[in-house]
Protein backbone atom coordinates (compact mmCIF):
# COMPACT_ATOMS: atom_id res chain seq x y z
CA UNK A 1 0.00 0.00 0.00
CA UNK A 2 1.30 3.41 -0.88
CA UNK A 3 0.76 5.41 2.26
CA UNK A 4 1.53 8.66 0.54
CA UNK A 5 -1.36 8.25 -1.87
CA UNK A 6 -3.83 6.96 0.66
CA UNK A 7 -3.06 9.35 3.52
CA UNK A 8 -1.74 12.45 1.81
CA UNK A 9 -3.27 15.55 3.36
CA UNK A 10 -4.69 18.19 1.01
CA UNK A 11 -2.18 20.97 0.62
CA UNK A 12 -2.74 24.16 2.54
CA UNK A 13 -3.66 26.93 0.10
CA UNK A 14 -1.18 29.76 -0.24
CA UNK A 15 -2.01 32.39 2.28
CA UNK A 16 -0.83 35.95 2.69
CA UNK A 17 -1.28 38.55 5.40
CA UNK A 18 -2.16 42.17 4.70
CA UNK A 19 -3.74 45.14 6.43
CA UNK A 20 -7.51 45.53 6.38
CA UNK A 21 -9.37 48.18 4.44
CA UNK A 22 -12.99 49.28 4.84
CA UNK A 23 -13.91 47.44 1.64
CA UNK A 24 -13.14 44.16 3.46
CA UNK A 25 -16.34 44.45 5.50
CA UNK A 26 -18.25 41.76 3.58
CA UNK A 27 -15.36 39.31 3.85
CA UNK A 28 -15.08 40.22 7.52
CA UNK A 29 -18.73 39.30 8.05
CA UNK A 30 -18.03 35.80 6.71
CA UNK A 31 -16.46 34.94 10.06
CA UNK A 32 -17.54 37.73 12.39
CA UNK A 33 -21.24 36.98 11.89
CA UNK A 34 -20.80 33.22 12.43
CA UNK A 35 -21.60 31.91 15.94
CA UNK A 36 -19.38 28.86 15.32
CA UNK A 37 -16.42 31.24 14.99
CA UNK A 38 -17.43 33.60 17.80
CA UNK A 39 -18.15 30.75 20.22
CA UNK A 40 -14.87 31.29 22.07
CA UNK A 41 -14.82 35.05 21.62
CA UNK A 42 -16.13 37.55 24.11
CA UNK A 43 -18.24 39.25 21.48
CA UNK A 44 -21.46 37.98 19.99
CA UNK A 45 -21.73 37.45 16.22
CA UNK A 46 -22.34 40.61 14.19
CA UNK A 47 -25.68 40.85 12.46
CA UNK A 48 -25.37 44.34 10.99
CA UNK A 49 -22.52 45.16 8.59
CA UNK A 50 -22.67 48.74 9.91
CA UNK A 51 -21.48 47.45 13.29
CA UNK A 52 -18.71 45.51 11.57
CA UNK A 53 -17.68 48.64 9.68
CA UNK A 54 -17.54 50.57 12.94
CA UNK A 55 -15.36 47.84 14.45
CA UNK A 56 -12.98 47.88 11.49
CA UNK A 57 -12.75 51.66 11.74
CA UNK A 58 -12.33 52.07 15.49
CA UNK A 59 -10.49 48.89 16.43
CA UNK A 60 -8.82 47.23 13.45
CA UNK A 61 -7.45 50.14 11.43
CA UNK A 62 -5.73 51.89 14.38
CA UNK A 63 -4.54 48.61 15.94
CA UNK A 64 -0.76 48.22 16.40
CA UNK A 65 -0.71 44.90 14.48
CA UNK A 66 -3.87 43.48 12.89
CA UNK A 67 -3.86 41.55 9.62
CA UNK A 68 -6.29 39.87 7.26
CA UNK A 69 -5.50 36.22 6.52
CA UNK A 70 -5.98 36.08 2.74
CA UNK A 71 -6.35 33.51 0.01
CA UNK A 72 -5.94 35.18 -3.40
CA UNK A 73 -6.06 38.49 -1.58
CA UNK A 74 -9.53 37.74 -0.19
CA UNK A 75 -9.74 37.77 3.61
CA UNK A 76 -10.84 34.47 5.14
CA UNK A 77 -9.89 35.39 8.69
CA UNK A 78 -7.81 37.70 10.82
CA UNK A 79 -4.85 37.57 13.17
CA UNK A 80 -3.67 40.19 15.62
CA UNK A 81 -0.76 40.82 17.95
CA UNK A 82 -1.44 42.97 20.99
CA UNK A 83 1.46 44.25 23.13
CA UNK A 84 1.03 43.74 26.89
CA UNK A 85 0.00 46.83 28.87
CA UNK A 86 2.34 48.98 30.90
CA UNK A 87 6.03 48.29 31.10
CA UNK A 88 6.00 44.79 29.65
CA UNK A 89 6.49 45.72 26.01
CA UNK A 90 8.59 42.59 25.47
CA UNK A 91 5.38 40.55 25.62
CA UNK A 92 2.44 40.40 23.22
CA UNK A 93 -0.59 38.18 22.82
CA UNK A 94 -1.90 36.66 19.60
CA UNK A 95 -5.51 36.14 18.66
CA UNK A 96 -6.91 34.76 15.42
CA UNK A 97 -10.24 33.87 13.82
CA UNK A 98 -10.99 31.99 10.64
CA UNK A 99 -14.17 31.60 8.59
CA UNK A 100 -15.70 28.20 9.30
CA UNK A 101 -15.42 26.91 5.73
CA UNK A 102 -11.66 27.30 5.94
CA UNK A 103 -11.12 25.30 9.13
CA UNK A 104 -9.10 22.06 9.03
CA UNK A 105 -6.84 23.03 6.13
CA UNK A 106 -3.78 24.22 8.04
CA UNK A 107 -4.55 27.87 7.30
CA UNK A 108 -4.52 29.09 10.88
CA UNK A 109 -1.23 27.29 11.54
CA UNK A 110 0.32 28.90 8.46
CA UNK A 111 -1.02 32.33 9.43
CA UNK A 112 0.48 31.90 12.90
CA UNK A 113 3.88 30.94 11.45
CA UNK A 114 3.88 34.01 9.21
CA UNK A 115 2.77 36.19 12.12
CA UNK A 116 5.42 34.87 14.50
CA UNK A 117 8.15 35.69 12.00
CA UNK A 118 6.73 39.15 11.22
CA UNK A 119 6.05 40.05 14.84
CA UNK A 120 9.59 39.30 16.02
CA UNK A 121 10.99 41.24 13.04
CA UNK A 122 8.72 44.27 13.28
CA UNK A 123 7.97 44.74 17.00
CA UNK A 124 10.86 46.24 18.91
CA UNK A 125 11.95 44.46 22.08
CA UNK A 126 9.50 41.57 21.57
CA UNK A 127 10.68 38.41 23.35
CA UNK A 128 7.50 36.56 24.26
CA UNK A 129 4.42 35.87 22.17
CA UNK A 130 1.60 34.25 24.08
CA UNK A 131 -1.84 32.87 23.31
CA UNK A 132 -4.60 31.40 25.42
CA UNK A 133 -7.07 28.77 24.23
CA UNK A 134 -10.20 27.60 25.99
CA UNK A 135 -9.80 24.14 27.57
CA UNK A 136 -12.83 23.11 25.46
CA UNK A 137 -11.19 24.29 22.23
CA UNK A 138 -8.74 21.48 21.35
CA UNK A 139 -8.66 22.54 17.69
CA UNK A 140 -7.13 25.87 18.64
CA UNK A 141 -4.72 24.19 21.05
CA UNK A 142 -3.53 21.91 18.22
CA UNK A 143 -3.09 24.88 15.86
CA UNK A 144 -0.88 26.62 18.40
CA UNK A 145 1.19 23.50 19.01
CA UNK A 146 1.65 22.91 15.28
CA UNK A 147 2.82 26.49 14.91
CA UNK A 148 5.49 25.84 17.54
CA UNK A 149 3.90 27.30 20.67
CA UNK A 150 4.64 25.51 23.95
CA UNK A 151 1.97 24.84 26.54
CA UNK A 152 2.90 26.36 29.90
CA UNK A 153 -0.09 25.39 32.02
CA UNK A 154 -3.81 25.65 32.60
CA UNK A 155 -4.98 28.90 34.18
CA UNK A 156 -8.15 28.08 36.04
CA UNK A 157 -11.15 30.44 35.98
CA UNK A 158 -8.99 32.88 34.05
CA UNK A 159 -11.45 34.72 31.77
CA UNK A 160 -15.08 35.68 31.55
CA UNK A 161 -16.72 34.49 28.36
CA UNK A 162 -20.39 35.19 27.62
CA UNK A 163 -21.45 34.98 31.26
CA UNK A 164 -19.25 32.02 32.21
CA UNK A 165 -15.83 31.80 33.83
CA UNK A 166 -13.48 29.65 31.77
CA UNK A 167 -10.27 27.72 32.28
CA UNK A 168 -7.66 28.58 29.65
CA UNK A 169 -4.53 26.89 28.39
CA UNK A 170 -1.57 29.29 28.22
CA UNK A 171 0.92 28.93 25.36
CA UNK A 172 4.08 30.83 24.56
CA UNK A 173 6.54 31.26 21.72
CA UNK A 174 9.80 32.86 22.76
CA UNK A 175 12.20 34.75 20.54
CA UNK A 176 14.73 32.03 21.36
CA UNK A 177 12.46 29.29 19.93
CA UNK A 178 13.34 28.49 16.30
CA UNK A 179 10.62 28.91 13.68
Amino acid sequence: MNHDEKHQKPKTPTITLRKFTLSDVDAFMSWAADPRVTRFQRRDPYSDPADALAYITTHILPHPWYRAICIDNTPVGSISVKPAPGEDRHRASIGYRLAYDYWGKGIATEALKLTIKAAFEELDHLERLEAIADVDNPASQRVLEKAGFKEEGILRKYVRLKGETRDMVMFSFLVSDAV
Binding site: R42, E87, D88, H90, R91, E127, R128, E130, E152, G153, I154, L155, R156, K157, Y158, V159, R160, T165, M170, S172, L174, V175
Partner: protein, 180 residues
Amino acid sequence: MDEQTTVLNRSRQPLTVTLREFELTDVDDYFVWASDDRVSPWWRWDIFTNKEDVLTFMEETVLPHPWMRAICLDGRPVGAISVTRRTAEHQCRAELGYVIASQYWGRGITTEAVKLVLGTIFGDMEGLERLEALVLVQNVGSQKVLEKAGFTKEGILKKYLIHKGKISDMVMYSFIPSEN
Protein backbone atom coordinates in the same frame (compact mmCIF):
# COMPACT_ATOMS: atom_id res chain seq x y z
CA MET B 1 -14.19 43.06 62.14
CA ASP B 2 -10.42 42.73 62.24
CA GLU B 3 -9.07 39.60 60.65
CA GLN B 4 -6.61 37.98 62.98
CA THR B 5 -4.66 34.87 63.73
CA THR B 6 -1.86 33.92 66.04
CA VAL B 7 1.76 33.07 65.31
CA LEU B 8 4.54 32.43 67.79
CA ASN B 9 7.50 34.76 68.20
CA ARG B 10 11.05 33.52 68.61
CA SER B 11 10.57 32.84 72.32
CA ARG B 12 7.40 30.86 71.51
CA GLN B 13 5.08 33.53 72.89
CA PRO B 14 1.98 34.11 70.85
CA LEU B 15 1.80 37.21 68.63
CA THR B 16 -1.23 38.25 66.69
CA VAL B 17 -1.23 38.88 62.95
CA THR B 18 -3.97 41.24 61.84
CA LEU B 19 -4.85 43.15 58.69
CA ARG B 20 -6.14 46.71 58.60
CA GLU B 21 -6.30 49.61 56.19
CA PHE B 22 -3.32 51.92 55.97
CA GLU B 23 -3.27 55.51 57.21
CA LEU B 24 -0.73 58.20 56.33
CA THR B 25 0.50 58.04 59.92
CA ASP B 26 1.88 54.59 59.05
CA VAL B 27 4.59 56.22 56.91
CA ASP B 28 7.42 55.52 59.37
CA ASP B 29 6.55 51.81 59.47
CA TYR B 30 6.04 51.72 55.69
CA PHE B 31 9.49 53.22 55.22
CA VAL B 32 11.03 50.27 57.07
CA TRP B 33 10.26 47.70 54.33
CA ALA B 34 10.19 50.19 51.46
CA SER B 35 13.83 51.12 52.15
CA ASP B 36 14.94 47.59 52.97
CA ASP B 37 17.56 46.49 50.44
CA ARG B 38 16.84 42.84 51.24
CA VAL B 39 13.20 43.32 50.27
CA SER B 40 13.51 45.58 47.23
CA PRO B 41 15.21 43.10 44.86
CA TRP B 42 12.07 40.92 44.93
CA TRP B 43 9.76 43.78 43.96
CA ARG B 44 9.39 45.67 40.70
CA TRP B 45 9.42 49.03 42.44
CA ASP B 46 12.74 50.74 43.19
CA ILE B 47 13.92 51.01 46.74
CA PHE B 48 12.79 54.16 48.54
CA THR B 49 15.48 56.30 50.12
CA ASN B 50 13.46 59.01 51.84
CA LYS B 51 10.21 59.24 53.77
CA GLU B 52 8.76 62.04 51.65
CA ASP B 53 8.75 59.73 48.64
CA VAL B 54 7.08 57.01 50.72
CA LEU B 55 4.45 59.52 51.86
CA THR B 56 3.76 60.47 48.24
CA PHE B 57 3.55 56.79 47.31
CA MET B 58 1.08 56.18 50.14
CA GLU B 59 -1.06 59.13 49.05
CA GLU B 60 -1.03 58.28 45.37
CA THR B 61 -1.02 54.49 45.36
CA VAL B 62 -1.58 52.89 48.78
CA LEU B 63 -4.54 54.84 50.19
CA PRO B 64 -6.56 54.96 46.95
CA HIS B 65 -5.90 51.27 46.20
CA PRO B 66 -9.12 49.25 45.88
CA TRP B 67 -7.87 46.54 48.28
CA MET B 68 -4.67 46.95 50.23
CA ARG B 69 -3.97 46.18 53.89
CA ALA B 70 -1.23 46.62 56.42
CA ILE B 71 0.07 43.32 57.79
CA CYS B 72 0.28 44.02 61.52
CA LEU B 73 2.12 42.11 64.20
CA ASP B 74 0.68 42.90 67.61
CA GLY B 75 -0.95 45.96 66.04
CA ARG B 76 2.19 47.35 64.36
CA PRO B 77 2.52 47.36 60.52
CA VAL B 78 5.36 45.12 59.38
CA GLY B 79 4.32 44.75 55.76
CA ALA B 80 1.64 45.19 53.15
CA ILE B 81 -0.66 42.91 51.20
CA SER B 82 -2.84 43.80 48.22
CA VAL B 83 -5.32 42.29 45.81
CA THR B 84 -5.53 43.96 42.41
CA ARG B 85 -7.80 43.42 39.46
CA ARG B 86 -5.66 44.04 36.40
CA THR B 87 -8.34 43.92 33.69
CA ALA B 88 -11.78 45.44 33.48
CA GLU B 89 -13.18 42.62 31.32
CA HIS B 90 -12.18 39.73 33.55
CA GLN B 91 -13.55 40.52 36.98
CA CYS B 92 -13.16 36.86 37.88
CA ARG B 93 -9.45 37.23 38.57
CA ALA B 94 -7.21 39.39 40.73
CA GLU B 95 -3.53 39.34 41.63
CA LEU B 96 -2.16 38.98 45.14
CA GLY B 97 0.96 40.87 46.15
CA TYR B 98 2.68 41.14 49.52
CA VAL B 99 5.79 42.51 51.14
CA ILE B 100 7.14 42.20 54.67
CA ALA B 101 10.19 43.72 56.36
CA SER B 102 13.13 41.31 56.17
CA GLN B 103 13.58 41.07 59.94
CA TYR B 104 10.22 39.30 60.05
CA TRP B 105 10.96 36.75 57.35
CA GLY B 106 10.82 33.04 58.14
CA ARG B 107 8.28 33.24 60.97
CA GLY B 108 5.13 32.32 59.12
CA ILE B 109 3.72 35.85 59.31
CA THR B 110 3.25 36.29 55.57
CA THR B 111 1.58 32.88 55.28
CA GLU B 112 -0.88 33.90 58.00
CA ALA B 113 -1.53 37.22 56.28
CA VAL B 114 -2.25 35.40 53.01
CA LYS B 115 -4.63 33.02 54.81
CA LEU B 116 -6.44 36.01 56.34
CA VAL B 117 -6.85 37.48 52.86
CA LEU B 118 -8.22 34.18 51.54
CA GLY B 119 -10.80 34.19 54.31
CA THR B 120 -12.17 37.58 53.34
CA ILE B 121 -11.37 38.56 49.76
CA PHE B 122 -13.93 36.38 47.97
CA GLY B 123 -16.67 37.99 50.04
CA ASP B 124 -15.23 41.50 49.63
CA MET B 125 -14.72 41.39 45.84
CA GLU B 126 -17.90 40.54 44.02
CA GLY B 127 -17.41 38.19 41.11
CA LEU B 128 -13.91 37.16 42.15
CA GLU B 129 -13.30 33.46 41.48
CA ARG B 130 -9.55 33.32 41.05
CA LEU B 131 -6.80 34.82 43.20
CA GLU B 132 -3.48 34.51 41.42
CA ALA B 133 0.10 35.33 42.29
CA LEU B 134 3.18 35.58 40.09
CA VAL B 135 6.50 34.81 41.73
CA LEU B 136 10.04 35.00 40.37
CA VAL B 137 11.36 31.48 39.78
CA GLN B 138 14.25 32.21 42.12
CA ASN B 139 12.00 33.46 44.95
CA VAL B 140 11.66 30.15 46.74
CA GLY B 141 10.59 31.81 50.01
CA SER B 142 7.55 33.38 48.40
CA GLN B 143 6.66 30.13 46.63
CA LYS B 144 6.65 28.35 50.01
CA VAL B 145 4.34 31.03 51.47
CA LEU B 146 1.80 30.43 48.71
CA GLU B 147 2.06 26.65 48.88
CA LYS B 148 1.58 26.67 52.67
CA ALA B 149 -1.41 28.95 52.25
CA GLY B 150 -2.98 26.41 49.87
CA PHE B 151 -2.29 27.87 46.41
CA THR B 152 -1.80 25.61 43.38
CA LYS B 153 1.19 26.01 41.07
CA GLU B 154 -0.14 26.15 37.52
CA GLY B 155 3.05 26.54 35.52
CA ILE B 156 6.02 28.68 34.65
CA LEU B 157 5.44 31.63 32.31
CA LYS B 158 8.71 32.24 30.54
CA LYS B 159 10.05 35.74 29.92
CA TYR B 160 6.79 36.99 31.37
CA LEU B 161 7.65 40.17 33.30
CA ILE B 162 10.40 42.75 33.26
CA HIS B 163 11.78 42.77 36.78
CA LYS B 164 14.40 45.39 37.63
CA GLY B 165 15.26 45.71 33.95
CA LYS B 166 15.60 41.97 33.37
CA ILE B 167 13.08 39.82 31.52
CA SER B 168 12.14 37.15 34.03
CA ASP B 169 10.42 33.78 34.22
CA MET B 170 7.53 33.76 36.68
CA VAL B 171 5.75 30.93 38.46
CA MET B 172 1.96 31.27 38.27
CA TYR B 173 -0.03 30.25 41.36
CA SER B 174 -3.75 30.43 41.91
CA PHE B 175 -6.36 29.86 44.57
CA ILE B 176 -9.86 28.90 43.42
CA PRO B 177 -12.23 28.66 46.40
CA SER B 178 -14.41 26.04 44.76
CA GLU B 179 -11.39 23.84 43.99
CA ASN B 180 -8.51 24.53 46.40
